[in-house]
């Protein structure tokens, strides 16, 4: 178990963090194929957690005026309009250059029966919607690098900031491979999704999942969610939705699997997600070895500077 402290699969994430008999690890499975972009999750999260307003500007790029996850947006519904041909998932020859970016549209030819146009042959307009959230990584870089212990692993396997301990050093912000956690400027401390730790404590599901009208956001035990997600992908593939793929469910990925994972209909970067995130601390043993070698080099240079001549 200890061999996977920094990276790799780690099933007993709460036990590893020191809990004697933790409850099962919980998380989110966000099935974006049924997301309708209503943003009820964003509203419910704000209301329950008392998250401050995050600016009332219009982005002008799409129906998404939240823009990104940050200290004051713990759920973010991405909204993508596309009109170019879709590259199949299994096309190994496709390079990033040939994948299309979200484009500006001419005259939309919206087909009323299939607004999300999800098959490879579809060349019409499609809308993608996805409610993004903190991934509650198995190997959470934010938690690893926090120097005060403000970030901690809960008994449910989630990752939470203690606002009474955080001193606003900001180290977690560039450490997160997903760009989730952020500093609240006027406050100085960092904030992010707690997976409604207070609600979990009393056996309630998180506010966003409770509010989701299409069950795009599903809350539950992680093992159960992973099985359900596998079945859902198979079902979609059988229906011809060959672009459906899971993101963040694999315990062998760079963060040991996400506590909050997704079913996507395009490449992760189209949704603003990193295609192959790796927890920075995976390389930390090597980083420390290089620091050690550099420190010894400096010490040796100091000794050499005084060796030999008197002047």
């Amino acid at each position: 178990m200890t061999s996977h402290r920094l990276s790799g699969p780690l099933h007993e994430v709460s036990a590893e963090a020191g809990y004697a008999a933790p409850p099962p690890r919980v998380g989110f499975f966000t099935d974006t194929s049924v997301c309708i972009g209503c943003k009820a999750c964003e509203v419910a999260c704000k209301q329950w957690n008392g998250v401050p307003e995050d600016g009332l500007l219009l982005t002008g790029m799409s129906y998404d005026n939240t823009g990104q996850l940050d200290a004051n947006s713990w759920r973010h519904v991405a909204f993508i309009e596309q009109s170019a041909p879709i590259v199949p998932v299994l096309d190994k020859e496709a390079t990033i250059e040939t994948r299309r970016a979200p484009t500006d549209l001419g005259m939309p030819r919206l087909r009323p029966n299939d607004p999300q146009g999800t098959s490879t042959n579809d060349t019409d307009l499609r809308w993608l919607m996805s409610s993004d959230v903190c991934k509650h990584c198995t190997h959470a870089a934010c938690l690893d690098v926090c120097p005060t212990g403000a970030l901690f692993r809960t008994e449910f396997g989630t990752v939470v900031v203690q606002p009474d301990v955080c001193n606003g050093c900001g180290y977690c912000v560039p450490a997160c491979p997903y760009g989730v956690i952020d500093q609240r400027k006027e406050d100085g401390r960092v904030f992010k999704c707690t997976l409604c730790y207070d609600r979990l404590k009393v056996g309630e599901e998180p506010a966003c999942a409770k509010a989701c009208p299409t069950e795009s956001i599903q809350f539950g035990e992680l093992d159960v969610l992973r099985e359900r997600a596998d079945r859902r992908v198979a079902e979609l593939h059988a229906q011809g939705v060959d672009v459906a793929r899971l993101y963040g469910q694999d315990p062998d990925d760079g963060v040991g699997g996400d506590g909050a994972f997704f079913l996507l209909l395009d490449e992760p970067e189209v949704y603003g997600l990193p295609p192959d995130p790796v927890v920075t601390t995976r390389d930390l043993p090597s980083i420390w070895r290089h620091v050690g070698a550099a420190a010894l080099t400096l010490a040796a240079a100091g000794v050499a500077a005084f060796a030999g001549r008197r002047r």
């Binding site: 299309r100 760009g179 390389d283 005084f306």
Partner: protein, 305 residues
Amino acid sequence: MREPRVVPDVEPASYYGRPILKAPVWKQPDVPLYLYLGGVAGASAVLAEGAALTGRPALERVTRLAAAAGAGLGTVALVHDLGRPERFLNMLRVFKPTSPLSVGSWILAPFGGLAAGAALSEVTGRLPWLGRLAGAGAGLLGPALATYTGALISNTAVPAWHAAYREMPFLFAGSASTAAAGIALIGTPVDEAGPARRLAVVGAGVEIVAAELLLNRLGMVGEPYRQGRPGRFMKTARNLTIAGVATALLGRRSRSLAVAAGASFQAASVLTRFAVFQAGLASAKDPKYTVVPQRERIRERTLAG
């Protein structure tokens, strides 16, 4: 209907061009300045110990003061950068080897105390044996203080920092050596400044080689170190370092040339730290530095089966 494009779109897919990562919220000049000051302090403590052991009182005095001042001012810069400065002591609430900032706090705090004690004893002449003991402790911690900052910034998801984790501690060790040696050159009579001159030459070599390796190995993720303001800073820093070495070697008998060399090293070290800091910011803000290397990784894995 739009006209068909002749040149294919080379920008990788992204969410409306928005960054994937959050850029560091660390402030300028606080953090890059701390990188410089911590380096000066750490390498000065090494020089001070050597000066004490080999009987160079003028060199010892300057370097003891530089070590204490660097640690003191560096700590002020770090505390000022905190979102909640009044909670700075929370840095010593736990010790976490997975957090270079925690490890660094546990290096900086004792170093600061020891360096201040040694400098105080040096200035007042009181308790000389205790001052020597404190100075020796600071000298031992010095190399760690000057290099842990390489781990501090590399242990993030910031592409241009993380990808450079092998070279960064060496770049910082070299930059710290030239800066500390430069201050010694400024404040020491030429007949005691020999070790400072030699440390400057070795430090400059380490710094220049590390920077070259970094730029050659990183590929597209290293672009921010070559482009724009950080690119200009990197180049200028290298030229100032070379100029400093040349001036220091020419001015073995000239105090004014030694001072010019020392000043050149300070400017070079400060510019290096700002260049590295700003290159990191640039790489975090453009999603292509996140997506392209990760896509490449996936492609290689897929081809390997």
